[in-house]
């Protein structure tokens, strides 16, 4: 049964669309290109499209515009999409949601039967006693809750999303008559304009209006009917080079400083404009009556759209309920499409007779005045409508029909305006919610300011476009009295169990009123209690109903937020779109030697942003190469910051707790950094490499933070110091082991003897023309040299060392191996062995503090720490041979209570037993003390505190 119309009395039907088909719940649905899923379903005669959230009531296409929840479906692998908004594509697989076993026969509709027997807010009042009941009940609830299903099979990467940016002079949201008029005016002033509209074709509601344009600021439109005129206006603008049009763009948010966000196909558009004009239009208001959600009850604009945009007559027999002349327009359109009109029911007694009202009277269609809809009959589809007096009471007559059209006035689409932080107010005289105070550089015009005729919309659109272009204030518009809309009928007697005000969450007027009586008498608490407005439409279709509740004498407090806060997004947007290509995750940082490591079969370790070599083979074995031969590690990720300038010493003395005045050229010193709270957060070395040039080597993780910190303090302006972050420009390796001196002497022209190049000194040299800085330091506990060079030589120098080192048995080693080696040596790693409460004295690096100097960062707290007794201490420890090695992080237990923790724990390949570092209470922190480490499985090992290091405690190896 196709509801396509071949001809219409009042306009020419476009039949050009190619025929396509898709599946709906497995059945073939024929469509025309240009159809939405909804229009194609209506054309095919389908009534039920979805099931409601709580009571599983059958729902059909309602406004054909996606402002409510009725058209939610799953399309291919995408759940919860609006059929009203998705264009039909050949071969797509559309499935209904939230029903079992089928859409037409859904067992859960039984819920609906129980409604009258349940207390208000029943879900808070049941299932919690006795205590064991809830987990069982919850399990059942979770089986039936929700709408669409997430596709866990993983067919989710079908789309690729991009992010795009626009910076027009003026951004106009809404391509209806006022938006188009505003665009035309702004273009006339030479502005760059971006016009976004949420439909495939510009024109808004004017596309389905037969009204004559009497007056227009654009005289060429006068005398045309509205749908012709608007197409003419749109076509004229289409070619303007200063105008960009985005049709089918869903604007979902207006954020700080008028950042406009939209989904345009697969693109997330981020728009910054000088001025934003919101011409978002209006939707039909919702009439509240018994069973006002049945399939076959539709809004006037939804019906008009189906007829004039899609060429579809939505039913056989119709009743129109109206409060204004617009309802007669809808009735005429239905009549022209061949639908039998059983009645037009008008709530007004008399008043201005509109042009369409007159025409309809001439067609002898029955008109009933001072009446409204009381009740709808039929479950899966509308069968009959009772109409009766506006004031309620007995129904007057019933009409058999399969379509009830509600044309009961418009409500502005305020969401975006409200997100811009305009505050909605209820205008009782005009019966609309309005936003009076928009932020700077934001304008609003058109039906979003209240209903108006086409002449007003064009005129006011033009004036607003001009005002925005010239930077003037928002013009003030006076609506004509005949543009005011009537109060909604049937706000009376709507206390039944099926008078819905929120169709997303199945909330009835009665439920709302009872909740107010229970104490939820502010709109925000009412929302939270009933879920009113918290469903998929986010209040777009019910916020006015809430405002009216507050305005009527229901006991709802009129607070400063009427209706509830409208939050972004205005339309649901997918994580895929928002994520795009995920630039937020940060790039992967690789050292220049990265590919050398891969060639050597490395296992990488993620260290912050960096990929670092963890190890190339068993780390225990690698460690032995260092201890017995010679090995090399890539240390390019370390921070390298150069300080110079007249005040450099003074600056370093302020920034760091150490002293550096006596650090001569060629010397290197261990240094720590502490925060203003006295907490240790960093260690590294400082070298004077040339006269007045200090070279700071930081840990990998802190390089950016320290550079920023230096710059932060330099902005105080008190120091004449230059800071250079050389971290990326300089790379490095550490070559270490007993044979390192022999190896390096063979390739670098430098005296490596202990006398000429002692421990904690630095030297400069060249290798094959590449400048090198060499630092003799000993993190691994073995004789070693850190060699720094320009990063562009990184890869070739690594390969050069590997090749030249082969005769000496040179091997690569990784970070895990280095962690074992330094642990044998008892060297701490800030962040790994310390945390946000570690004071440097307790961490055992108090030796690096020289507090007999003027103010420096953390001085006050250090003084306090020093006065205080040591309470806990970071100590190196050893286990017995054969003891299991605990994992990093487990607790130190005394008297059954956790009193400390293991920070690093490894098997020592050199010594053959477990070693580590742990925070322990001061009382058990002396060398030779024992403490108890408990693993997560409950097993305990006894550790013995070491004096300094397990390996080379006196440092003889390092210094010789």
């Amino acid at each position: 049964m196709s509801r396509r119309i071949d001809s219409h009395e009042f306009y020419e039907v476009d039949k050009s669309g190619k025929e396509i088909s898709f599946l709906f719940d497995g059945s073939v649905v024929w469509a025309r290109e240009g159809d939405t899923i909804s229009s194609a379903l209506v054309a095919s005669g389908r009534k039920i499209v979805s099931r409601s959230f709580k009571y599983h009531r059958p729902r059909g296409i309602y406004d054909a515009d996606g402002y409510g929840p009725e058209s939610l479906v799953t399309v291919d692998d995408e759940p919860n999409l609006l059929a009203d908004r998705v264009l039909a594509r050949n071969g797509m697989d559309v499935r209904s949601q939230n029903n079992w076993p089928s859409l037409d026969f859904d067992l859960a509709e039984i819920n609906d039967v129980f409604v009258p027997f349940l207390p208000n807010g029943f879900y808070y009042k049941m299932f919690h006693k006795p205590k064991w009941l809830w987990p069982i009940a919850e399990k059942q609830i979770r089986k039936v809750a929700g709408l669409g299903s997430i596709d866990t099979a993983g067919r989710h990467n079908s789309r690729r999303y991009e992010k795009r940016y626009r910076f027009p002079d003026i951004c106009i949201v809404g391509g209806g008559p006022s938006g188009l008029a505003a665009a035309k005016a702004a273009l006339g002033e030479g502005k760059q304009v971006l016009l976004l509209d949420d439909h495939p074709e510009l024109g808004g509601h004017s596309l389905h209006s037969l009204a004559r344009i009497q007056e227009s600021p654009f005289s060429e439109l006068e005398g045309l009917s509205e749908h012709e005129g608007i197409r003419k206006l749109a076509a004229e603008l289409q070619d303007n080079p200063n105008l960009e049009i985005m049709s089918g763009a869903m604007v979902f948010g207006v954020y700080e400083d008028n950042l406009v966000a939209a989904q345009w196909g697969n693109d997330l558009m981020k728009i910054r404009a000088d001025k934003v004009i919101l011409a978002t239009g209006a939707s039909d208001r919702h009439l509240v009556f018994d069973n006002n959600d049945r399939p076959g009850i539709m809004t006037a604009r939804g019906v008009e759209r189906l007829i004039m945009v899609h060429g579809i007559a939505p039913a056989e027999e119709a009743v129109v309920v109206t409060t204004h002349d617009g309802g007669y327009h809808t009735a005429l359109l239905l009549h022209g499409a061949g639908v039998k009109l059983k009645a037009v029911v008008d709530s007004r007694a008399s008043g201005t007779e509109g042009v369409f009202e007159k025409q309809l009277e001439d067609l002898n269609i029955p008109i009933y005045r001072e009446m409204t809809a009381h009740r709808a009959h039929g479950r899966k589809k509308l069968q009959r409508v009772d109409v009766g007096p506006v004031k309620g009471g007995e129904s007057f007559q019933s009409f058999d029909c399969d379509l009830l059209v509600t044309a009961v006035g418009l409500m502005p689409r305020l969401n975006l305006l409200s997100m811009g932080r305009g505050r909605p107010e209820w205008d009782a005289e005009r019966q609309v919610l309005r936003i009076m105070n928009l932020p700077e550089d934001m304008y609003s015009v058109g039906e979003v300011e209240g209903p108006a005729d086409i002449s007003s919309l064009l005129q006011q659109g033009m004036e607003t476009g001009l005002a925005a272009a010239k930077g003037n204030e928002q013009p003030k518009f006076n609506r004509k009295p005949e543009e005011n809309i009537e109060a909604l009928p049937a706000d009376i007697e709507s206390g039944g169990d099926h008078h819905f005000i929120c169709k997303c969450m199945d909330v009835t007027r009665k439920e709302a009123c009872m909740s107010i009586d229970e104490g939820f008498d502010q709109v925000e608490s009412l929302k939270r209690y009933t879920s009113l407005g918290m469903g998929p439409c986010q209040g777009k279709s019910c916020h006015e109903a809430v405002a009216r509740l507050a305005a009527l004498d229901t006991g709802l407090t009129e607070s400063d937020a009427v209706p509830t806060t409208m939050r972004p997004p205005a339309f649901p947007v997918s994580f895929g779109l928002l994520s795009g290509r995920a630039h937020h995750l940060g790039p992967i940082r690789r050292t220049p030697m990265h590919h050398c490591h891969i060639d050597l079969g490395v296992k990488f370790l993620d260290a912050g942003a960096w990929k670092r070599p963890d190890s190339y083979m068993d780390p225990q074995q690698e460690a032995l190469y260092v201890r017995k031969g010679v090995a090399m590690i890539d240390v390019s990720t370390l921070g390298k910051i150069e300080l110079s300038g007249p005040d450099v010493i003074e600056f370093m003395h302020f920034m760091l707790p150490g002293k550096f005045a006596k650090l001569d050229v060629g010397r290197t010193r261990y240094a720590i950094m502490i925060g203003e709270d006295g907490i240790l957060f960093e260690d590294g070395t400082i070298s004077q490499i040339e006269k007045g040039k200090y070279y700071i080597s930081t840990t990998t993780g802190n390089q950016d933070a320290i550079y920023t910190l230096f710059q932060w303090w330099l902005t105080t302006g008190d120091y004449d110091v230059q800071v250079k972050n050389l971290s990326a420009g300089i790379s490095g390796v550490n070559i270490t082991g007993p044979k390192v001196r022999e190896f390096l002497s063979s390739i670098i022209d430098l005296d490596f003897s202990n006398e000429a190049f002692p421990y904690m000194h630095n030297r400069q040299a060249t290798l094959e023309g590449v400048p090198l800085n060499l630092f003799r330091i000993g993190f691994t506990g073995e004789l070693g040299y850190e060699i720094h060079f320009p990063s562009e030589f990184g890869e070739s120098l690594w390969n050069y060392f590997m090749e030249k080192g082969e005769p000496f048995g040179l091997k690569p080693f990784g970070v895990e191996t280095q962690r074992i080696l330094r642990l044998e040596k008892g060297h701490l790693i800030p962040g790994a062995d310390t945390d946000a409460l570690s004071n440097p004295y307790e961490a055992g690096v108090g030796f690096a503090i020289k507090d007999d100097k003027e103010d420096f960062i953390g001085k006050a707290f250090l003084a306090e720490f020093k006065q205080r007794e040591i309470e806990n201490r970071l100590v190196p420890y050893k286990l017995q041979e054969g003891d299991a090695i605990p994992i990093d992080g487990v607790a130190v237990i005394a008297d059954g209570k956790p009193v400390g923790r293991v920070t690093s724990s490894r098997m020592s390949p050199t010594l053959g037993y477990g070693i580590g570092m742990a925070w322990v209470p001061a009382g058990s922190s002396e060398a030779g003390n024992h403490f108890n480490i408990r693993s997560l499985d409950g097993t305990n090992v006894i550790a013995t505190v070491l004096d300094h290091a397990a390996y080379d405690p006196e440092g003889q190896i390092l210094k010789s």
Binding site: P79, Y124, K131, P135, I141, I150, T152, S579
Partner: protein, 399 residues
């Protein structure tokens, strides 16, 4: 016919105790003062509506797997009170003890998570460390491969953790307090606190002045403003924290999942929405306006964990305020200089979890005019004395 949850009252000219802030903390304090200590002549003053602040804006996650002994014992008490709260208050709070994962993506975070597990276990709180295959068994759709930018290395798993219907906690505490005679005054703004000779004398509101000798401030993000009225400076910095919910889906995720590295946490309610939260915004601010940047970065991070959520749509986003302390632990304290004034604040991102224990102990402190042992570590002057509680070490995303 309909039974009211709470009543509107004329404001009395004096009360024994005035509690500023009608959130979970203020209402729980009122409830336990009435129930445990028989003090019922209490006014709870709320500027907007009860549950307007953090109590209605959090992501409703409950857990007790903290890092320090003080934190673990306090939140354990809280969780245990939560377990019986629905029965006690005769209201279905929909507490779903579905288990709570904190994922680790680095060796450093695995170490910190292990310490939490170890401390929890030693103090009788159920926590353990799971490796990636064990995680995958319980969360089949999670990506444990090497493909993500920050691969998952393991998780702290805490079976008693879960989610609850947060607004219902507020309402049922309010009802419980109301039934015992407590007056709840909504839409009432505190303009000043009257102090004479170092003693609290009353509270000035837009609806008149109340005489009282004890005032409790339970206003979280607005604490600095209230405490300024009695001349107390707090080391609080207020940051916004943003969250979102998706549209409703058939329940698919049956555990709470948190990742500090990715700054995200999520759970799925019994209604079917995914409730998703972020770490705090980097900037201090009192504004509660949502940002697009949050949506974008949250989405990118979430898809790292659960690529199947690509087509899941965001329905609503919002923000709340977090009153951050330097040590990520709360302040529940008497004040030496102002007799009768009590501070309950510094709840950061973890306030909702602590509400019952916070109310319980605050009530005891007010009733007995001395600090209960359970909250001795949370005194406000610990910052002056440099005696911090080390929860900051636990994680930057504390949910």
């Amino acid at each position: 016919m309909t039974e009211r949850m709470w009543n509107n009252h004329e404001m009395r000219s004096s009360y024994d105790v005035v509690i500023i802030g009608g959130g979970a903390h203020g209402l729980a304090t009122a409830y336990y003062l009435a129930k445990n200590h028989g003090i019922t002549n209490i006014a709870v003053i709320e500027q907007k509506f009860i549950g307007y602040g953090g109590s209605g804006r959090n992501t409703a996650i409950l857990r007790s797997n903290y890092r320090t002994e003080e934190g673990i014992l306090f939140y354990d008490q809280s969780l245990k009170l939560y377990e019986d709260l629905a029965q006690e208050l005769d209201y279905n709070l929909m507490f779903s003890q579905q288990g709570h994962f904190t994922l680790g993506h680095s060796t450093a975070s695995m170490q910190a998570l292990t310490t939490r597990a170890a401390y929890n276990r030693a103090l009788g709180v159920n926590s353990t460390i799971l490796d990636p295959p064990e995680i995958k068994k319980m969360l089949p759709e999670i990506d444990i491969s090497n493909h993500p930018r920050y691969p998952i290395m393991g998780a702290l798993y805490h079976p008693p953790g879960g989610i609850i219907r947060h607004d219902a906690v507020v309402w049922s505490y309010a009802r419980g307090a109301d039934q015992r005679g407590v007056h709840i005054h909504q839409l009432t703004e505190v303009q000043d606190i009257l102090v004479e000779n170092g003693e609290v004398r009353g509270v000035k509101t837009n609806r008149g002045t109340i005489h009282c000798k004890q005032v409790v401030s339970c206003v979280a993000g607005w604490s600095s403003e209230i405490c300024k009225m009695v001349g107390i400076k707090l080391p609080l910095v207020t940051h916004p924290l943003q969250a979102l919910v998706t549209t409703d889906y058939k329940p698919w995720l049956h555990h709470v999942v948190v990742s500090s590295t990715l700054h995200i946490y999520l759970s799925q309610t019994d209604r079917g929405e995914l409730v998703c939260g972020n770490g705090i915004d980097h900037y201090p601010h009192y504004g509660m306006r949502s940002t697009l940047g949050f949506l974008e970065s949250y989405a990118a991070h979430l898809l790292e964990l659960f690529p199947i959520l690509h087509n899941v749509t965001v329905q609503r986003q919002w923000a709340g305020l977090c009153d951050m302390t330097p040590d990520y632990s709360p302040i529940i304290s008497m004040v030496d200089d102002v007799d009768g004034f009590y501070i309950n604040c510094g709840w950061g991102t973890w306030g909702f979890k602590g509400s019952p224990a916070s109310g319980w102990n605050t009530a005891q402190m007010v009733a007995e005019r001395k600090t209960p042992d359970m909250i001795a570590a949370f005194r406000h002057d610990r910052y002056v004395k440099n005696r911090l509680v080390g929860e900051k070490a636990a994680a930057s995303v504390g949910n």
